[in-house]
């Protein structure tokens, strides 16, 4: 079943369809949440909540309106909601996690060694992180990303190229370092 059919089945209460959609979109959903929050614990909680909401709202999905982008939009909205709540709860002088480099939110040294490129990604701005993840991990086109983020397609392509240049530099540095 493709994602469109899965959403239809989920709307009818099919748990197997929900599990299949979860297996297909688990990594992109987590990547979007991590790109926005720069925090692995928050990204984990958001991933869980996204699929609970997909189950609850699948019947409102309109066929033909890009199912992957629909699910990822839920992830984006939830991640920004979580950050807004965090910002209200944190003291004014303490920055929200997405405003920092994010590296310290990835885990211990052993984990960091396996997430070198992810750490480099989190050094980018939050918009650039989303563009890279939505294109390279979720497989959305630049036009779909532009539509989802409310940006001109040219801006998305330009920011994507800048982000890639930064990540390539990091990869080359790690090979030579």
């Amino acid at each position: 079943m493709d994602a469109e059919s899965l959403l239809g089945a989920i709307g009818d209460g099919d748990m197997a369809a929900l599990e299949q959609l979860y297996r297909e979109l688990r990594v992109p959903v987590y990547a979007v949440a991590l790109a926005i929050t720069a925090d692995r614990n928050l990204a984990e909680d958001i991933s869980q909540e996204v699929f609970v909401r997909v189950h609850r709202h699948a019947h409102t999905y309109r066929p033909g309106s890009r199912p992957r982008a629909w699910v990822l939009a839920i992830a984006r909205n939830l991640a920004f909601d979580v950050l807004r709540r965090r910002r209200r709860e944190l003291p004014a002088e303490e920055p929200a996690s997405h405003e920092t480099t994010g590296v310290s939110f990835l885990g211990d040294d052993a984990t960091l060694a396996r997430l070198e490129l992810t750490a480099a990604l989190l050094e980018l701005g939050v918009t650039e992180r989303q563009i890279v993840v939505l294109h390279d991990v979720a497989g959305l086109t630049h036009a779909e990303i532009a539509s989802g983020l409310g940006l001109p397609p040219g801006t998305v392509r330009w920011k994507y190229r800048l982000a890639l240049a930064h990540l390539h530099t990091t990869m080359k540095g790690s090979r030579h370092g």
Binding site: S47, T118, V132, L164
Partner: protein, 72 residues
């Protein structure tokens, strides 16, 4: 282009490692919600405190959330 593909592959591999499997928790939450709706649908109103239905509701939800539903 080859560099971009390599970068995308590596990012997907890293994130696949980083992303935890939260399916058991999702399933538990979805099933607990279904149980709650079924029980509420079987009643004319909320169960009275400490009655038999209150405890049935309590234990079924606890079992669903802890992943023990169906275990004798």
């Amino acid at each position: 282009m080859a560099d971009s593909d390599e970068l995308g592959d590596r990012l997907r591999t890293e994130l696949d490692f980083a992303a935890p499997d939260v399916w058991p928790r999702i399933r538990g939450r979805v099933q607990a919600r279904r149980v709650a709706f079924e029980l509420l649908a079987a009643l004319e109103g909320p169960p009275s405190a400490w009655g038999r239905l209150y405890w049935e509701f309590h234990f079924r939800l606890r079992d669903e959330l802890s992943g023990r539903a169906g275990v004798p």
